[in-house]
Subunit: 494 residues, 2 copies
């Protein structure tokens, strides 16, 4: 594999940054999640397409370690799964099973905010099953997480899903029910990988906004921030320029006597800033999330730019930036919550995953996006992971186990029944599959869509292009199932 | 999954057998191996198709545990691989790579007795790589095997192969060289599973005599011994009848005063027999191997039956059976080597594999084969494994991870480029894929072939049907590679 090359121009600059103010800050990899878990406002307009009374919760006795035969491999933990059988046509009719593959959070939020399953289950007469990912929510193996953390990996997680699904098909006498796995973001990666690794368990996969190509050297590091920048530029050229210029202004103010105190005051921070990076990191996250979840009808990028551009003529850059922050957030008494911005994840455990196998080299140079430079450096990333967790990441494992390089060449005559859905405003779409790989491994994307938009609940205000995307997906899945039933019928005739 | 049902008629009989004389004997699962490792005579007529000087031996720093991130997962062991680059067209020409996947033995024997790779490499201009399976030969992780035995699994083994192949392609600048994996018997299972799990690493697989369906409840238990019986019946009806009647004769003699001593004398045993099962188990193994490796020009089944049938008129059953033993073996001063027939495997480690994940439920009832009853009983098998290794087997893991049930339905629209080759005289062919699954997942079998016959060295005396089988396989593989190059060319034009 090619080593990642930096242009020497900004390498020296970024090295200085890395070695000075920010050296203790973990590299900030944008969060993967179906919806923006940092802002409930993002989902305030959605309504679940089911009633809670239809859900039943169970716990499966899951094997801690599927791949080895050490005495501790046989340990059992309780894995939560939730079933909605209201619409199911039954196992005796081989009615379909929709399985939502949990990702890096408790399953509850996904149940509430994933519209695709309950909205389509009635027409498909499908059983709905939500399975929680090991080490999240109520599916954490006994004892302190640290003790068993080594078993917290994606290969184990999808093996868990296989075990639960096979168990359920047996228990429900649903031997011939076709299973469709559905997931978004990291869960979308899991869904596509599940179809590839367990075709005997799942007939097909809907992988929504799955950045399966953001590994190793498959795509350029700065893909993510290039799209964030493009989103802002398309929303407003002046907004984009203001943001682009703001970083050096912030640094300049910070370098003056009492500069940090000035910045703290101007941004109404909850705690005095201890360095300018704290503020920049906060803004970085705010812009990135706005782009990632830039969905109708609110379009957060437009909202932020509305704040920035809407300030009266003559307003200086810092005030414009602050106006953008205020526009993006609601009813806050203060902003920039101090050093805990540096903590990598609200749930903590995704940090472990990125520090073990989900090593996504997301970064940017000094002049290739609207942001300040923040290159991904594997060496310092590794050091940080070892400091945090005691073990180094395996940056090549995902491409070794799941592939990714030359994906069209590899899969065009292998595999079937995968939908890679994307919205091109989603910065993670740079690492999604955006071209059909074969007749049934297909890309379904929208130019104006955002992260996992297709699997969120439908809404009266949904634009036509979003409705079209969802209808296309449903039609494709229906085609897989029709084909499956036809095959079943023709084989039983022989 | 259905529980395995016994007809009650012979269940009671077999239970009595299990609970009396043989209760301490591990269930005897016929050995999987490309050639008969118990008898060098089997291969005395073969000539390696290469010179030893062309081989280079290397050791790869292999990861102990690919799937977890415990501190011990990162341990490194030396894995042996052997390269023959004499015929290779080079990485710059994207010339192919043939990779032989080692199985349950040191790699040396396979290098010597696998003809397919060196015989076809010149025409393909292929690099040849032999990779030894972890925990065999010189690829045993440090320290006493027992300590790391938990990491001795097929999923780890094929992940090893992926790592070595990707490393080699990088090292040899052979990024676009198509890789064909080849294996026989257990190694054939690994080859087919490797193509299914790592399509981004191997373009195709030749899986010779791979009994991938002998797991769980996919096929009847007695498939193996039914074919052994059929082979003998086809060779000679009288021979088959003599064998079928012999078991009760042996038991009858054994039950008489001094019966064991009589049997020991009549079979010229190396040590006095301690029970009749010792003799029966020896004969069982002898007949089974004869059938499994019933290959031209010698055809061991015919040889055994020649001994049994060739005795003068009036010879009693025991003497006929002994004449068969003598005919099958050469220059032995004694037979039936005492209790170490009960040890399960000459290499020991295959026992571990069958007691962890490779749980093949091979058995037979009281009247469904030419043998005495010897049903596979999962409960007693499990108890025996726990006694031997401290951990129970996971009898459903192979079908969970690799599939197997409804294989045609699952793979007919998924996967490509696998040859399942078989010889129908091989008792393991009952668990092989004998029907084309799709256009490029195909079955190539011969009616008169034996275990892994196609990948053994060619021989002047080879019958035409064997030459035809090999030519068919070569032509299919050539087709995959041609298609691959055409795809490569057409994608580079876009």
């Amino acid at each position: 594999m090619k080593s990642i090359a930096f242009s020497s121009g900004w390498l020296s600059l970024s090295l200085i940054i890395l070695l000075t103010s920010v050296s203790a800050v973990p590299h900030n990899i944008p969060k993967l999640s179906v919806f923006d878990r940092t802002s409930l406002r993002d989902l305030s307009d959605t309504t679940p397409a089911f009633v809670w009374e239809d859900l039943e919760t169970y716990f499966y006795n899951q094997t801690l370690d599927h791949f080895n035969y050490n005495p501790q491999s046989y340990a059992i933990f309780k894995q939560r799964y939730v079933i909605n059988s209201k619409y199911w046509g039954g196992g005796n009719k081989s009615a379909p099973i929709f399985v939502y593959l949990g990702a890096e959070a408790p399953i509850d939020g996904d149940i509430q905010f994933t519209g695709f399953l309950p909205e389509n289950a009635p027409n498909f007469k499908a059983l709905i099953v939500y399975i929680e990912h090991r080490f999240y929510g109520q599916s954490v193996p006994f004892g302190p997480v640290k003790e068993n953390q080594g078993y917290f990996s994606s290969a184990q997680a999808i093996a868990d899903y296989a075990a639960v699904i096979l168990y359920l098909k047996e228990k429900l006498s649903a031997h011939y029910s076709p299973v469709i796995v559905i997931g978004g973001s990291y869960g979308g990666m899991l869904a596509s990988w599940f179809r590839l690794k367990y075709p005997h368990v799942a007939l097909g996969a809907l992988a929504s906004s799955a950045p399966i190509l953001y590994f190793d050297d498959i795509i350029p590091q700065n893909g993510y921030y290039s799209i964030v920048s493009k989103d802002f530029k398309e929303a407003s050229e002046s907004c984009y320029e203001t943001i682009k210029q703001s970083w050096s202004v912030i640094d300049e103010v910070a370098s003056q006597p009492n500069g940090l105190s000035t910045l703290s005051q101007r941004f109404n921070t909850c705690y005095p800033l201890s360095d300018s990076f704290e503020l920049k990191d906060y803004l970085d996250g705010l812009y990135s999330r706005a782009a990632q979840y830039d969905r109708p009808p609110r379009y957060p990028v437009t909202v932020v730019c509305g704040g920035i551009d809407g300030a009266p003529n003559g307003t200086d850059i810092l005030s414009r930036i602050f106006a953008g922050v205020v526009a993006a957030t609601v009813n806050r008494s203060c902003y920039v919550n101090g050093h805990h911005n540096y903590s990598r994840d609200p749930y903590g455990d995704w940090d472990w995953q990125t520090c073990s196998e989900m090593v996504m080299p997301i970064g940017r140079g000094s002049n290739d996006t609207m942001f300040f430079a923040w290159p991904f450096n594997l060496t310092s990333f590794t050091e940080d992971c070892v400091r945090s967790f005691g073990v180094p990441p395996r940056p090549h494992w995902v491409t070794t186990y799941y592939g990714g390089h030359d994906i069209k060449a590899v899969l065009q005559r292998f595999a079937s029944n995968i939908i890679f859905s994307n919205g091109l405003r989603d910065p993670y779409s740079c690492a999604g599959v955006l071209q059909d790989i074969s007749e049934s491994v297909v890309a379904v994307y929208t130019v104006n869509g955002s992260h996992c938009l297709d699997i969120l609940p439908t809404n009266k205000s949904d634009p036509q292009w979003l409705t079209d995307q969802r209808n296309t997906e449903v039609k494709i899945i229906q085609g897989w199932i029709d084909q499956y039933y036809a095959d079943l019928l023709s084989s039983s005739k022989h």
